[in-house]
């Protein structure tokens, strides 16, 4: 942390620490929800590719789901720059591992634990990484799916959702998720959730990626759009009978 001195009238100089400007006070470029589920062969994670700058849709090509090592997928909602910082930390971790070169590799449980510690410690210093992270992975045949929030709340579950997904996607997942979903059913379920988010979350865009992780490795799909339906007859002339209504 660098400081700089500023001379003032009475001759003394005051060290104005740059602490204030180094703490995250509010997020600037944000990503919206992530929805993830466990399925038969591993974990599926869906996110859209938008980065909002306040109420503007500034970036439309942000990948918010990244592979970590051989066994994990990390998805993030919230401040994008903090997500990139977290990816750097994890890069250092994996690099250290590779330098040891003993055949060990970090599994999803270890990375989840590491992230929980990092997030919690940052929040204790009042300098949080403004993200809600979703960690999914498969190691030794066991699937793992967990979440860490920006204040360090962390837990594991069969299906998770961040941001608006908490309100819109969780009810659907709680109702329709079951163990041993096939890949197609899993993707259909995620698309159902992402479609509702597209209709009802103002910061969502119709360009999404679905990432899959299994024992074999990670595949991130190409970006694609969902079909939406706007042809309700009541949408054609909604206030025909009720002038003054919307």
């Amino acid at each position: 942390m660098t400081t700089f001195t500023v001379p003032i009238d009475n001759g003394d100089s005051v060290k104005i620490a740059e602490e204030e400007s180094q703490r995250t006070l509010y997020p600037y470029v944000t990503g919206t929800s992530i929805v993830a589920i466990k399925y038969k062969d591993g974990v599926l994670m869906a996110s859209d590719m938008g980065g909002s700058y306040g109420s503007t849709l500034r970036y439309k090509n942000i990948e918010r789901v990244k592979a970590i090592g051989k066994h994990s997928l990390l998805g993030a909602s919230g401040e994008i720059s903090d997500f990139q910082e977290i990816l750097r930390y994890l890069d250092e971790l994996t690099l250290n591992d590779n330098m040891w070169d003993d055949g060990n590799s970090l599994g999803p449980k270890e990375i989840h634990n590491y992230l929980t510690r990092v997030m919690y410690n940052r929040r204790n210093k009042f300098n949080p990484l403004w993200n809600t992270l979703v960690l999914g992975g498969v190691k030794n045949g066991k699937s793992y799916l967990g979440m860490v929030s920006m204040i360090g709340v962390s837990f594991e579950d069969d299906h998770v959702a961040t941001g608006f997904g908490n309100h819109l996607a969780r009810p659907i997942l709680r109702d329709e998720w079951h163990a041993d979903l096939s890949f197609e059913d899993g993707v259909k379920l995620l698309e159902k959730c992402m479609r509702v988010l597209l209709y009802r979350d103002r910061s969502a865009i119709n360009k999404l990626q679905i990432a899959k992780i299994t024992e074999e490795g990670v595949t991130v799909s190409q970006p694609y759009s969902l079909k939406t339906f706007w042809e309700f007859s009541s949408f054609h002339n909604p206030t025909a009978g009720a002038e003054g209504s919307w």
Partner: protein, 273 residues
């Protein structure tokens, strides 16, 4: 004689006269009494033959459940019903008031009430109170012009929709509607979808709970299905409810007086009437 400084507005609408004094009191630390909110999930949808309204039955007072089985679907007219979310007193009062206004109007015109009449009366009232009457309503009915479904915000905004949700559980219920609503649903499909949406609110929102109420309105007919579904029953360990332990045995029937009974005769004259 000095003029009174607080005037009751002759024309109705919100009187802002006490706002300054309330502001001063809150700054001095007075906590305003909290309202009984309904913390609700209310929904409506249009199906093939009419309108189906649904609501949960929990009324909350802050973190406490004040009423486990309240009625949130209010009668407006024989062919119009209204679900209410927000402050319970406000929804009750405003729907009652408009319901009686509609009745008088029916006597005067000799015709059945129309949904947009109720809509306009509610909207005008809520707008004139600038959102202080905290009532968010889902109004539905079938009149001579067909089935109608509207939502009314506390500020007075109205929307005309094929399916609508309001209340704290509105997002959970809306996610069900957005995923599953189609046009031209039959009565049974519609009821099933409404019940699903309310259950989604009941189980995923803390402000909603208990049972599901449903009201089906079609041309010339209405069905008020109170407690259509009860997905949160009171469960007892024993199937017979509360059970007492083994038969009680009578050991002794003997009455032992503790004090000697003494007869007191009145002394003195009777009171004059």
């Amino acid at each position: 004689m000095s003029q009174s400084t607080v005037d009751v507005s002759a024309k109705g609408g919100f009187s802002f006269d006490l706002c300054k004094r309330n502001e001063m009191l809150t700054q001095k630390g007075l906590k305003a009494p909290s309202f009984l909110k309904t913390g609700t999930t209310i929904v409506g949808l249009i199906f093939k033959d009419g309108v189906i309204l649904g609501a949960d039955t929990r009324a909350t007072e802050g973190p406490i459940v004040a009423d486990k089985n309240c009625e949130k679907i209010h009668y407006m007219a024989p062919n119009i019903y209204c679900c209410g979310a927000g402050t319970a007193a406000d929804t009750e009062a405003v729907t009652d008031m408009v319901s009686s206004q509609l009745r008088l109007h029916r006597y005067e015109t000799g015709r059945d009430s129309r949904v947009i009449t109720a809509l306009t009366l509610l909207k005008k009232h809520l707008f004139s109170y600038q959102g202080h009457v905290s009532a968010a309503l889902v109004l539905g009915g079938v009149d001579i012009t067909g089935p109608h479904l509207h939502t009314i915000d506390p500020n007075g905004l109205t929307e005309t929709l094929p399916f609508a949700t309001m209340g704290s559980g509105s997002l959970a219920a809306m996610s069900v509607f957005e995923a599953k609503y189609k046009e031209g649903l039959t009565r049974d499909e519609g009821i099933k979808l409404v019940a699903e949406a309310i259950c989604s609110g009941i189980f995923n929102d803390l402000g909603s709970g208990s049972n599901v109420d449903i009201c089906v309105i079609t041309k010339g007919n209405k069905e008020y299905l109170r407690n259509y579904m009860e997905p949160n029953p009171r469960t007892y360990v024993s199937s017979k409810g509360y059970s007492f332990t083994k038969k009680t045995e009578v050991l002794l029937t003997k009455i032992t007086p503790l004090l000697e009974r003494v007869e007191i005769t009145e002394v003195g004259e009777a009171m004059e009437e």
